[in-house]
Amino acid sequence: MAHQRNKAIGVETVGMTMRFGSFTALDDVSVRVQAGSFHALLGENGAGKSTLVKCMMGFYHPTDGQIMVNDREVAIASPRDAAVLGLGMVYQHFTLVPSLTGAENLVISREKVPAVIDWAKERKALAAFMETMPFRLPLDVPVRELSAGEKQKLEIVRQLYLGRHFLVLDEPTSVLTPAEAREVLGLVREMTERGELTVLMISHKFHEVTAFADEVTVLRRGKMTGTGKTKDLDHRVLAAMMIGDQPIAALGTRALQPDDAQTVLRIDALEAVDRTGLKPIRIDGLSVRAGEIVGIAGISGNGQKEFFEILAGQRAREAGEVFVKGTPYAATRAEARALNVRAIPEEPLANACAPRMSVAENLSFRSFDIGADGKPVTWVGASAMNAFAARLAEQFKVKTASLASPISALSGGNVQRAVLARELTGDVDLLIVSNPCFGLDFSAVAEIRARIMRARNNGAAVLLLSEDLDELLELSDRILVMSDGALVYETPIADADVQTIGQHMAGHH
């Protein structure tokens, strides 16, 4: 394993087709990934990117088509076959075992592990192996204590340790800060340039593709819609290949915020503990005025989730006050209704819906128990509820087979539209949103962002917690950075600098 040079593997698919019943997930796709190249695979959710790589990795058996490895036709019946050929994959969600150390993770993933592990010998071998790697990693701490960037590097190192020289990276930077993403991709790119590695990267970030990839292939609805050198293709062309000619919701112009806008949300000396019970959350002096979007940036796990839970009434606080329009706010149903506070948590199906209840019932959660006169009702009217739900579904373009079907049957984008419809209907003075576009495709993302912008322009105060910096830069009037449970940096959008924000996200402040 000492010498890694010129081991890069070229992989090519010829006429790859994959059908699940009558649905064609992949239609005659031929991609050539040259040895030692950095190839990007672009496409929306459901475009067939993961089906293609799963066929390459032996998880699926394609209905039709061949795979060539180093210009020789091969049969890949299982992930094990792929591994033997030197093909490896780094998944979007980490597959390292959190409670094991880096060294334990590396050794146990090997094909042949001795019954009793001689750690002195293994450590020596690992140290020698790490000498050949461009990454520096602590191998003796449990993986759960590593940062997301370190985990991503360890995933890549593990594939190389296992002797894989063709790597599929599935959205490798989705959990990294911009600086970490640049570092990891930069180092991987250098390895491809030295001929040690071939990379096929699944992505939907154009700037990453143009900055790091040599070549790009675009898929849409299972078909290949374009391929070529990245230097010949600009973002507009790539976007057209990706989404075709369907209309994209425009964000809408940013209405000017009046100078005397009322402060809607104020948070004083808020304290709580995070999920592990070990790290404190301290938020002090945050205020959001009517008609502005305040974005909270931060890497996952720095207390944003807990902060949201406190504001939504899902988590107890230890000290401090939350004021909405000057009134102390404890997130009870009565308070939320009186003060027009609405919340959209991340993963809305799990956190804002009753998955097995119907779409109509889920759409009515805010309103089913009050009548037209604003007084509590004794009997819930099914027909009124259905009429209300039908109107909302129409307005917000919620696509569902029936309003009576369970909301869990809807696609992610439609669940998010339904929750948005519920939360944005009626008067909204304060809207608290967390990662609203996570995992959604291009057009759904554009539409949801436009809705949030419209709520702002209509005078709502919006607190937007997001792990997607691009989203924050697009929507926010001000950006704050949360790190280690506290707000550590604030900038108006006009002066926002990705570099600086990224440094604060990474804890350098």
């Binding site: 075992v97 409670s99 334990e104 070990l278």
Partner: protein
């Protein structure tokens, strides 16, 4: 009264002796449960396995005249119980906690059904090693009569602690317990690993039962267990899934269990029944102290149904 000759020294001595004597079943059940839980499954049926193991061990020891054959037979029966639990749990949407409770009742029922014939006969006991030869005080000698299974338990705890770090099997169990996805990505079969881990846990729990019927109290009755099998599950959580922690916690519980009898022996008669409740109170206090609505348990295997 003999205890008065050494005065109040009798209390710590009795607690020490009790800790050794009472803790042994706790050690075996909690180590077994630690293996099972580290693989990502919880087996609440160990109470039933323990009692069934006690019955089998007693019956086989009586029929063959060898207590060690009794222990082996108990372990085999415990492994069968574990395999059965593990086999049911591999089906989708099966809840391991509900199955565990059913298995507990099943084990108790089977033990009482087959054990009726063995309530009267006397089976040979497991041997003990006297570590009190240096002392002329009979109480000290009695207290330091250490049963062999206790020593085996200590060795086992150390061996498990080492094995979870230094052997392939140990690492595989931890991988499976922490992340099924990671395990599958490595080509491991989580169900198979959990099946075997549950079987191993059952075997050890049954060995703890064998101790009850073959050493202390040393006979087979239907009321032989006082909930050791259930409390050991709480103990594993208290010990943070660490075998050495299990050993320490078991000895602590054993000592607490010996508090009542020890105080009684020096003549404290008022309210000693309260002290008999010490291990149960300790269980409750530990569960309250180590739990919290706002946070997850640190160090818990990621796939465990109670912590997920």
């Amino acid at each position: 009264m003999a205890a008065t000759e050494i005065g109040l020294w009798g209390v710590p001595l009795a607690i020490l002796a009790g800790a050794i004597r009472v803790s042994t079943p706790f050690i075996f059940v909690s180590l077994g449960e630690a293996i099972t839980e580290r693989s990502g499954r919880i087996n609440l049926g160990l109470e039933g396995t323990l009692v069934f193991g006690a019955m089998i061990a007693y019956a086989i020891a009586y029929l063959t005249g060898s207590p060690w054959l009794g222990v082996l037979a108990a372990m085999a029966s415990g492994a069968v119980f574990g395999l059965f639990h593990g086999w049911i749990c591999k089906f989708p949407k099966v809840n391991d906690i509900a199955i565990g409770i059913a298995m507990m009742q099943f084990g108790l029922g089977m033990a009482f059904f087959f054990g009726k014939a063995f309530i009267q006969p006397v089976a040979p006991h497991l041997p003990a090693i006297g570590f009190g030869w240096w002392s002329s005080v009979p109480q000290v000698r009695a207290a330091l009569d250490v049963n062999v299974l206790f020593l085996v338990g200590i060795a086992l705890a150390i061996a498990l602690y080492w094995a979870f770090r230094n052997t392939r099997i140990g690492l595989v169990i931890r991988v499976v317990g922490d992340s099924s996805d990671a395990a599958r990505a490595m080509g491991l079969n989580p169900d198979a690993v959990r099946l075997l881990a549950t079987a191993a846990g059952g075997a050890l729990a049954a060995a703890g039962g064998a101790y009850l019927s073959l050493y202390y109290p040393g006979s087979w009755t239907e009321g032989i267990s006082s909930g050791q099998g259930l409390m050991a599950v709480a103990l594993v959580i208290f010990a943070r899934w660490n075998p050495l922690g299990c050993l320490a916690a078991a000895i602590l519980f054993g000592g607490a269990g010996a508090l009542g009898p020890a105080l009684q022996s020096v003549g404290v008669t008022g309210g000693y029944y309260l002290f008999y409740a010490a291990p149960y109170v300790l269980t409750l206090v530990i569960m309250i102290v180590t739990s919290s609505p706002g946070r997850a348990v640190a160090g818990a295997p990621g796939e465990l149904s109670i912590t997920r």
